[in-house]
């Protein structure tokens, strides 16, 4: 570390934020492609990325719609996945001390990546970490969604295997979150509940039923 550089902690945080944005960009390309493959227009894919701006929820909606599920089932699954952002908001609002109307801008960029970066940062660069990650991820997520949607619209998505990319995206999201046996049990429980529900429940609903897999871990004292 170069102690003579002006504010090295700050520039390190900004560099990390840029790197996270690039990684998210790869994910955005697959979201744009998946959305168009599922039957959304390029505009609809872009509205989701601009306004909903929370990857797993967006993927969940297009996954359910693409599998022939109802809009209600798709929206419900998507909002369940987005509910963790509420808890991130609680944590960040006390951590960052952002006041006034700026809170509502901060709320829009309250997601996995910005929460992880600002909670990991040293207190004096916490706000820089939050806003730099927000700018980098928001910009690249939306740009890559547009490019992915335009790209998928121009090719035969099934013969390129792009429909298989959605399941892979969920796996790549899930794997780093399974940190212990409780997490593993919940994930396996969710998978089994979904598999059992697919023949019985309307499309999209198996994903909601799978949410029940958290109950044993949550109710235990």
């Amino acid at each position: 570390m170069d102690a003579a550089a002006p504010n090295p902690a700050r520039s390190r945080v900004v560099r990390n934020a840029a790197a996270i944005g690039l990684a998210v960009g790869a994910y955005g390309l697959s979201f744009g492609a998946a959305a168009v493959t599922a039957g959304l227009s390029t505009l609809q894919a872009c509205v989701l990325s601009l306004v909903a701006f929370t990857g797993a929820s967006q993927f969940a909606l297009v996954g359910v719609l693409g599998a022939g599920g109802s809009a209600a089932a798709g929206v419900a699954g998507s909002l369940l996945l987005g509910s963790r952002n509420t808890l991130y908001g609680v944590r960040l609002s006390s951590l960052l001390g952002i006041q006034g109307p700026k809170r509502y801008l901060a709320a829009q960029v309250t997601i996995d990546e910005t929460t992880a970066m600002s909670t990991a940062a040293a207190p004096e660069v916490r706000r820089v970490a939050f806003w730099a990650t927000a700018a980098s991820v928001y910009g690249l997520w939306n740009l890559s969604t547009l490019l992915g949607a335009l790209g998928a619209g121009a090719v035969n998505t099934s013969s390129l295997g792009l429909d298989a990319a959605v399941g892979a995206a969920f796996l790549a999201l899930l794997a780093p979150q399974v940190r212990d046996r409780v997490g593993l049990r919940v994930a396996l429980g969710g998978a089994l509940l979904a598999a059992a529900a697919i023949p019985l429940a309307p499309a999209g609903v198996p994903v909601l039923i799978a949410g029940l897999a958290v109950l044993p871990a949550v109710l235990r004292r």
Partner: protein
């Protein structure tokens, strides 16, 4: 119908974020609520994997998408970056379909 889903998801996801910034912290501080919110994504993502890779209508099937998922699993175990995981799945599924 797709627009209705897109708009309600968009507005709903923003509202969930804004809620966290608006309510007093102690309202959402319950240990069980915290644990449920932390674990819920695991159950839902695992279910979405099953639906995407094995679901076809109301039955489960093993096809090119499942082969793609297996390739993605190998990539994840080797700690490959996100894009590599996704491309491995797509390329494998495309290959299986081309055979």
């Amino acid at each position: 119908m797709i627009w209705a889903a897109v708009l309600s998801t968009s507005v709903g996801c923003y509202a969930l974020k804004a809620l966290g910034w608006s309510v007093p912290a102690r309202w959402l501080a319950g240990e069980r609520l915290q644990r449920a919110a932390a674990l819920l994504p695991l159950a839902l993502l695992a279910a979405l994997i099953v639906v995407q890779a094995f679901g076809s209508g109301h039955s489960l099937s093993i096809d090119a998408r499942s082969a793609g998922l297996a390739a993605a699993g190998i990539a994840v175990l080797r700690r490959a970056p996100f894009l590599v995981v996704v491309l491995a799945a797509a390329a494998t599924a495309a290959l299986v379909r081309a055979l």
